[in-house]
């Protein structure tokens, strides 16, 4: 499986959701798709599933465009936060219908998952709680065994215990049926360990695409005496710094670093890295009465 975006652009009436994005994802991997709200994650995933055409550029899956092309789209299962299923159906109907549409569907597995999430067959989609609606999406996504399975924030309303179960099930399913799984999330701390690769979108552009394990080598968190740090880090790519009481902590990104001397060396988590890379500084709001 190879998914390739070349200068991909998607413009809505009022804003550019994707801006000249070039990105290649391939293999049977679990890939984390990260980005702030509005960075273009959902747009990219929906275009992969053929929901709408590109404004400009090219998007291909195994060299074929997914838009309006059944031989490609039949192998893709996208589960979104909402609007996955018709509200008037029962849980049972959703599973039966999904079974018809997904060529690799495993009904025994779907039933096993349904029981694991304690969903009732007869319950109507409309009456499901947010968490249970998410669970139904997860069940369909996993049981579809689609060669490309995409989850866009699939656990809204799901409690920590069920979420952890989802991660277990995802890993287990991936081990039994290796496939390209793209997972978009804001709960980075919870799922970062599941990723083999990480993609960060920012303002509709590609900010970063790395193997998760290499990200650890690409950055370094240094702390120590302020002067020493400043001297060491002069003209280096600092993505984050904070100082207090003569001590300073910095995060360097994409720098060859050796001989750190007395400075203490550590690593930031993926969530911290993500925040450092994408956060915009606030300039400090001053209420007008104080001005």
């Amino acid at each position: 499986m190879e998914m390739k975006a070349t200068n991909l652009t998607k413009r809505y009436a009022h804003k550019k959701a994707l801006d000249d994005l070039t990105l290649t994802l391939n293999g049977e991997k679990i890939i984390g798709l990260l980005g702030k709200n509005g960075a273009g994650k959902t747009t990219l995933m929906r275009m992969l599933a053929g929901h709408f055409p590109a404004t400009d550029g090219r998007l291909t899956i195994n060299d074929k465009a997914p838009f309006d092309h059944f031989p490609v789209t039949k192998d893709i299962c996208l589960i979104m936060e909402s609007h996955n299923f018709h509200e008037k159906f029962k849980v049972k109907d959703v599973l039966n219908i999904s079974a018809k549409f997904h060529p690799n569907w495993d009904m025994d597995y779907a039933k096993y998952l349904r029981k694991s999430f304690r969903l009732e067959e007869k319950q109507k989609v409309k009456t499901l709680s947010k968490g249970m609606y998410s669970a139904l999406g997860i069940i369909v996504g996993l049981a579809s065994l689609s060669p490309i399975t995409i989850f866009d924030e699939p656990y809204i309303g799901l409690d920590a215990s069920f979420r952890s179960m989802f991660y277990d099930l995802l890993l287990e399913s991936y081990q039994h049926n290796p496939r390209l799984i793209i997972l978009s999330t804001h709960l980075i701390d919870e799922v970062s360990k599941l990723f083999e690769e990480v993609v960060i979108l920012h303002d509709g552009k590609l900010m970063l695409h790395e193997k998760a394990d290499d990200l650890a080598d690409k950055h370094i968190l240094l702390s120590g005496n302020k002067e020493e740090i400043d001297q060491f880090a002069a003209s280096k790519n600092i993505i984050h710094e904070s100082s207090m009481l003569g001590q300073k902590t910095i995060v360097l990104y994409d720098e060859e670093v050796s001989d750190t001397g007395d400075l203490s060396v550590s690593k930031a988590s993926l969530q911290e890295l993500f925040v450092y890379l994408t956060k915009e500084e606030v300039n400090g709001y001053v209420p007008s009465s104080e001005a």
Binding site: K29, D168, D189, L194, E196, D213, K267, A268
Partner: protein, 130 residues
């Protein structure tokens, strides 16, 4: 192997260290089978590729060897290799920070060496009791 993973260190490295520690503590002996990447992935809720990277680190250092279709096993010389490695790292990882802190709190060298001697003796005694 139930230690929890830390956030401030690459996961594959932690997996490798975990296995090493098990080897030097004799939990894993020469020719013992180590858990598969999938077992690691499941237990720690991590990507199998990450677990594989950690294990491969040890394969490269001849601490572990792979038997096709059977699994991965601890080599004869594993313990020696790990011990040597850990000893090489000991000064940087433990002695240096200790001396830094000692200097910070104005601890005298004599005091420090007395403590270390005492601790060694106590340690030996408690080992004998066991």
């Amino acid at each position: 192997m139930t230690e929890r993973l830390k956030e401030d260190q690459p996961i594959f490295q932690q997996i490798a260290e975990l296995i090493e520690t098990n080897i030097i503590e004799n939990e894993l002996k020469a020719n013992d089978r180590i858990p598969s990447t999938n077992e690691f992935a499941k237990h720690y809720q991590i990507n199998p590729a990450t677990a594989a990277k950690g294990i491969n680190l040890l394969v490269d250092q001849h601490i572990i060897f792979k038997k096709r279709g059977v699994g991965m096993f601890v080599t004869e010389e594993a313990k020696q290799i790990v011990l040597k490695k850990r000893k090489d790292q000991f000064y940087d990882q433990y002695v240096k920070p200790m001396l830094q802190e000692a200097e910070r709190i104005e601890l005298k060298e004599e005091q420090l060496s007395t403590w270390i001697k005492e601790a060694f003796q106590n340690g030996n005694e408690s080992n004998k009791l066991n």
